[in-house]
Symmetry: C2
């Protein structure tokens, strides 16, 4: 499909050193962080600037070659698996922070900038870029934008889309668009910025982004609250929000997760209670102290059996990083880890966690749950083994039932990981047939040849909705 001639053309565009097609290179980019999805690309290209991206896209359009834009491949929905072969686009040569505008509080970056690099850079200037996916040490801003990544601070500060003010992108025909700008308000036409954010590389290749920054909150405090029962923890969450407090972070870990983290990190986490909440608040000192006192009290009143306040930045960082490394810790237990992100209105966290426990037992699979209690974004994580076909079948059935439960509870099939290839068959459960038709109309209009990340979001066939009475 990709001829020697074409390879030479790509080499002429972005330099011989930025065109890879060895078996090793193709293998390296044949999968992302999602278990059980793998396909070989034909070529791996690393353009150096927007014009090279545009030239590559034009060439691909001319020859009907699929394009898979890829950040660091940390996504968990098989969003960057090259399922139709073609070209994987890397942004390692487009990883510069281009401009920090102190007057307008914006930063303009290339897509390949590592999330943590950006966060550290702006914090050094007393500014704040809130979206903090757990993969932030590895993930790129381009990937975050394509997936509309969330994170631990989403409850108070929102997600990636809330910080993207403008984009430059290459359309599937090679044209370049610029959306938005350094503007707090802009209603000139459809909101193409928001359309591209979270479109998982299916509509355009993002080549530059202007992001909104906010002042860095001066103080932050952290507490850990342990509860005998799930319900008590969930009630504490509701009570905190009912008290009109929006904490920065309100993270939930179930017993199984805490146990595994403690085994892995040994930082003295309690392993004897059914649920643990990690609570953080930031802002001006007085408000933080007031809120934390109130939340401390609320947790006590709702049956917290132990409350631990981080007495130093170091201790707080230990607690936070414990949560952040939940996935790594869990991944040590079995050969294969499947991390999901079923999300419900936060009032339904307790019923959802109970459902997950019930479903795991029903299918006899191991599922641990942690996640963002404040925004209802849970991460049921299955520890399994890909090589065991029979078990994998049960795992799939269990997740299908979990997605079903989250929809029934007013939720969604994915809160922050994206649809990708993995959840495409379930998308209609959330957005309905009419929603799928609208998405198809948009996709068809913008990418009529379907060269942009084909096979993602749009499923060949939709899974039948489960019919159950027990949810």
């Amino acid at each position: 499909m990709i001829t020697e001639n074409l390879i030479q053309s790509f080499q002429a565009i972005c330099g011989i050193e930025n065109v890879e097609y060895s078996n090793a290179a193709r293998l390296a980019y044949s999968y992302d962080a999602t278990a059980n999805f793998q396909a070989l690309p034909d070529l791996v290209l690393a353009p150096r600037n927007r014009d090279e991206v545009a030239a590559i896209v034009k060439m691909c359009a001319e020859h009907h070659i699929p394009i898979v834009p890829r950040g660091s491949g940390t996504n968990l929905s098989a969003g960057t698996s090259p399922s139709s072969g073609g070209v994987v686009l890397l942004f390692k040569n487009m990883n510069q922070i281009l401009e920090l505008d102190q007057e307008n509080l914006t930063v303009t970056v290339q897509p390949g900038v590592i999330t943590k690099t950006l966060i550290d850079y702006v914090e050094g200037l007393d500014l704040f870029y809130p979206p903090d996916p757990s993969s932030l040490k590895i993930s790129t801003i381009g990937g975050n934008i394509s997936e509309n990544s969330g994170g631990l601070r989403g409850l108070k500060y929102g997600v990636t889309k809330d910080y993207v003010l403008g984009l430059e992108a290459v359309l599937p025909n090679g044209d370049i668009i610029r959306t938005g700008g350094k503007l707090a308000k802009d209603v000139a036409g459809y909101d193409l910025t928001s359309l591209l954010v979270g479109s998982e590389g299916t509509l355009a290749v993002i080549t530059e982004a202007t992001l909104k920054l906010i002042p860095k909150p001066p103080f932050k405090e952290t507490i850990l609250a342990m509860f005998q029962t799930l319900e008590e923890a969930a009630e504490a969450v509701s009570a905190i929000l009912a008290a009109r407090i929006i904490p920065t972070t309100l993270e939930f870990m179930d017993q199984g997760t805490v146990q595994v983290i403690e085994d892995y990190k040994q930082i003295g986490l309690p392993t004897h209670c059914e649920a643990v909440l990690l609570i953080e608040q930031d802002g001006p000192l007085e408000s933080v102290e007031k809120d934390m006192d109130k939340m401390y009290q609320i947790c006590s009143e709702h049956g917290a059996i132990e409350l631990r306040k981080a007495e130093s930045d170091e201790e707080a960082e230990d607690l936070r990083s414990a949560r952040r490394e939940a996935l790594s810790a869990l991944a040590k237990l079995r050969p294969t880890t499947i991390l999901e992100d079923a999300t419900v209105p936060r009032s339904n966290i307790a019923p959802m966690v109970r459902e997950i426990i019930r479903i795991a037992a029903k299918y006899n699979v191991t599922i641990r749950t942690f996640g963002h209690a404040g925004d209802g974004n849970l991460h049921p994580t299955c520890l399994t083994d890909l090589r065991d076909k029979e078990e994998m079948e049960r795992v799939e059935q269990a997740f299908e039932e979990i997605f079903h439960a989250s929809i029934e509870l007013g939720g969604t099939i994915t809160g922050e990981h994206g649809v990708g290839e993995m959840k495409a068959p379930y998308l209609e459960w959330k957005i309905g047939e009419a929603g799928i038709q609208v998405m198809k109309a948009i996709k068809q209009g913008i990418d009529p040849m379907n060269i942009m990340n084909p096979g993602k979001m749009f499923a060949k066939s939709t899974k039948e909705r489960l019919v159950m009475s027990n949810v």
Copy 2:
């Protein structure tokens, strides 16, 4: 075009009393708040629920009848002028607040709810819905969503789109979609919620919205700062933001505007200085006081010749309402008022205001400027007389040059009023030909018969870009 038969069909759908076609009714809905745009609709319909909306849309689709969804018609871009005739859809029978969810901090409303009704309702429960367009006493939430309305609190709290969590809408084929939900995080498919927000009725009819609420800030303070020169005021704005303070409101009024408001309201506003800033901060008492002290000091250091702190809620309300009624006050001066919303990065406010003054002098037209300094959203307002053709030509040339200047300064042709019919010929200046093509692909895909608010956003022809060297 609309036969007696069809009228009976519409009557059968939504009741005889909700179908109007007298000359008086048609005339009443032949224009909105935008000067110089008028066209008669054929019918005015007021459906009572979503299913009636869907039946009407299906009937219109079958007979290729244009549909113009209309809130209260307060928009300033000729977004609801029935330029192709057809049906005007009113939401006076769909004006209920359906549910307030205290646990998830959401409110679900029908499109016809008046903005202020909603704001007052939630504030009574100690909650807060921040978007506050100046028309909030009359405008509807449906209209706010269709236009993505801004307001005075946009700098700190964002605009309408930041508060829309989910929508129910009727597509041009009569299908119903539901987007989003009571979810802080949801990445299931393209962001259709954001696509519909600000789409000005060109893609679907919104029939229900779930909105995000936040806790009501407990305290608020207001000051008025007067500056001898525009530059000093603009420098004070920059210095405030550089000090990492994001005030709730940072409003700007030029001398001409203040003079007119004072003549109209007589609340003792200063009329001897070139620029006035209205500054407000809300939040916990300690932070508000700290921020206000700092801003007071910054204004002094940047040459404020007078600083007035509101000593009571009443006085603060006077200052705020003065700003809010700028338009009404200005409208008294001449028969016709044309209010624009050229928007620039906030670092370019002073150059932009200077440009507006220069352009007004060049074309010998009267323009007063006020607006949202904190987010660069200015409202140059022309006082003129529609009946004077020669003057109107100069007015049009002046605005053309103002749009040009705002684009050259990194801005946009519309910050919060929308494109409508009025600014459609200028849209390409902001989003480029490729942007227009993407919008057309979306419109064509979703509304292939172009029955949804035709003639809006998409221009028959684009204005030639001005070529100038003086900006």
